[in-house]
């Protein structure tokens, strides 16, 4: 039995409760274990973003609750919640992830600095990640000097740097051409295996979905299919 990271119970999000209620999310149960590489797919408006926002502690469910590593985050408020996100969850958004006035290196270390990690540890980690994402030569470039794919790789590295419980990525490849998208996914997959990092991401892109180990399909706020995770990573991570 693998360690549970995300546990969502009976999650619903209802908009316009007073007029015509819209169920953006309808009684969803979701359980994700450490090391999983999960894609969430579904047509536009099916509730992917809503679900990710709930388990990322960015939005409050109308019903149900979310536990991250045993902590019920639905009860957290204000700064507690922000701090929880800072220390436990890595975020990658569709675009404009990076702080435009900081260099690639500074963006990657940003979260570790907010966490007040020791400088030595931070520097080491950033160096290691820059290598892993293949951007050692872009250390001092600002985001606008990087391609869209490079920017997303830096965003993944930033999310990964402090070794959070899991990384949430809402359509991380939506703004990328297919080559960059595949490259980003390969990189994520590699990090998933090397660091046993849990990834949950949403996507429309079939080629991206093919790389996932587990695929959850949403429709009208409900999970309509959940293909079982392929038990890959165990041996691969151990052989490393």
């Amino acid at each position: 039995m693998r360690e549970t990271v995300i546990d969502a119970h009976n999650l619903s999000k209802i908009y316009d409760e007073k007029t015509i209620p819209v169920y953006a999310l309808n009684k969803v149960h979701l359980h994700i274990s450490r090391g999983e590489f999960t894609a969430i797919k579904g047509p536009s408006g099916s509730g992917k973003t809503t679900l990710l926002n709930m388990i990322g502690g960015l939005d409050i469910p109308s019903e149900g609750f979310v536990e991250i590593n045993g902590t019920n985050i639905t009860n957290l408020k204000g700064n507690e919640l922000i701090d929880f996100r800072l220390n436990n969850i890595g975020f990658v958004f569709q675009s404009y992830n990076l702080i435009p006035v900081l260099t690639a290196k500074e963006n990657i270390e940003f979260i570790m600095l907010l966490q007040k990690r020791p400088k030595k540890e931070t520097d080491q980690r950033v160096l290691e990640l820059l290598k892993q994402i293949g951007l050692e030569d872009k250390v001092n470039k600002r985001p606008r000097e990087l391609s869209g794919g490079q920017q997303q790789r830096v965003a993944v590295a930033r999310a990964l740097a402090p070794k959070p419980q899991f990384i949430l990525a809402d359509e991380p490849t939506a703004n990328l051409d297919s080559v960059s998208a595949e490259k980003l996914l390969d990189m994520m997959l590699k990090l998933n295996q090397e660091e046993n990092m849990t990834f949950v991401f949403s996507t429309h892109d079939e080629r991206v979905i093919n790389r996932a180990r587990r695929v959850i399909t949403l429709e009208d706020g409900k999970i309509v299919s959940d293909t079982a995770p392929t038990p890959v990573t165990q041996e691969q991570t151990e052989t490393k």
Binding site: L58, R85, P100, I111
Partner: protein, 404 residues
């Protein structure tokens, strides 16, 4: 890291930042210059008016100012002058005995104001020697008068002629005396030029039978801005017996003129600052609107709102601080230069001024307080404006802001 973010964000849109800095600098420069000018002009005006005759502060017997007669004169106590001399801000002490008498030569006579004074100190306060147009200056123990130009014309006399003074002395005694004219003086104010006669104090007291008596003591001080403080101090020591009046009470018209003019400065600079304030607010508003998504992202990934607010407030304060410092750096040499090289007006204006014996000179006043006050006003305004992004961030919901 906070500082790094503030600094880099400032140069994100460097043109906008520079324009904002420049506009703040201009406002500070303008306000400082205007205020320094105004203070300089006032100081000069006060110095001129006060140096005419009255002095910055006068001491009289209680009741003298309302009824200016010899019977309201006072005997100088031996402790009074030393007490005044102790005050380091008081630079000159001019004892005077003043009354109206009749001056005549032959069949012509004319009423005049006889001023008995100490020639040396009188000159220190009112520069009487400089007003001499004929003859020479009088000395302490002389029985000789300086006659104002208008008087001399009326009586058709000149230097070395003798005039007779008649009048009522202390307690109504008859006073009469013959005095040689030692010099003719030109007094700028026509009323004074037509009626003043100066005689050394000792001779005047003897003439009026008012041994050891004075009607007023006029004080010259180091800086006009200390007037009220000095008047207060003197009052607290001798106010029981004497009336102590600063020039504002002696010449309320001038004091009111200055008050009205100061008020117009406050209105003007207020408007200036409001305009600049809106400019700064515009910058802050644009900056906040442009970066909404970024703020949402930062809060989403775990940056505390308070930290983000610190960055934003820092940006506003830095811009303002740069502007203020630039404004000071630019105005400092200008104010100092214009103090040393006052602007000199020509034409009608100069003539009008010269009629009253003023040089048409407008030096600025170099007063660090002006710099400090104007800077603080602008900074306070910036803090107020800087609160807007804080308010914006405090109500920011990352999910809503990041929705495309």
């Amino acid at each position: 890291m906070i500082l790094k973010l503030i600094w880099r964000n400032l140069w994100r849109n460097s043109r906008r930042t520079l324009i904002t800095v420049a506009s703040i600098a201009f406002a500070v420069l303008f306000a400082i210059l205007m205020k320094s000018f105004q203070n300089g002009v006032f100081k000069n005006l006060i110095k001129n008016v006060v140096g005419y005759y009255s002095g910055y502060v006068q001491i009289h017997q209680k009741g003298y100012w309302d009824e200016q007669v010899l019977d309201n004169s006072f005997v100088v106590e031996s402790s009074l002058i030393p007490q005044l001399q102790q005050n380091a801000n008081i630079k000159v002490i001019v004892p005077r005995l003043e009354t109206f008498v009749l001056a005549s030569k032959g069949n012509t006579s004319k009423g005049c104001l006889l001023v008995g004074t100490d020639p040396v100190n009188e000159n220190k306060l009112t520069h009487l020697k400089d007003k001499l147009i004929k003859g020479s200056y009088f000395e302490n123990n002389e029985e000789a008068v300086l006659l104002a130009e208008g008087m001399a014309k009326r009586l058709e006399v000149s230097v070395n002629d003798t005039i007779v003074l008649f009048g009522q002395g202390f307690h109504g005694v008859m006073a009469a005396g013959k005095y040689k004219i030692k010099g003719i003086i030109h007094l700028a104010a026509p009323a004074m030029n037509d009626s003043f006669v100066y005689l050394p104090l000792g001779a005047t007291q003897y003439f009026l039978g008012a041994e050891n008596r004075l009607t007023s003591i006029s004080l010259g001080i180091d800086d006009s801005k200390n007037t009220n403080a000095i008047a207060k101090k003197v009052k607290s020591r001798i106010g029981q017996k004497y009336e102590v009046m600063p020039w504002q009470e002696l010449m309320p018209e001038i004091s009111n003129h200055i008050k009205a003019d100061s008020f117009s400065f406050y209105v003007f600079s207020g408007i200036l600052y409001i305009i600049i304030g809106f400019g700064l607010f515009g910058t802050v508003l644009m900056m906040t609107a442009e970066r909404k998504y970024e703020f949402g992202m930062l809060i989403a990934i775990g940056m505390k709102k308070s930290k983000l607010e610190l960055v934003l407030l820092g940006e506003t304060l830095f811009i303002t601080l740069f502007g203020v410092i630039l404004g000071i750096v630019l105005s400092l040499p200008l104010v100092i230069y214009l103090k040393e090289n006052p602007i000199r007006f020509g034409g009608q204006m100069a003539k009008a001024y010269e009629q009253f014996g003023f040089e048409a000179l407008f030096p600025t006043d170099f007063d660090p307080n002006i710099f400090i006050t104007q800077s603080l006003i602008v900074l306070a305004m910036a803090v107020l404006i800087g609160l807007y992004p804080l308010w914006h961030v405090s109500g920011l919901d990352p999910v809503k802001t990041m929705k495309k």
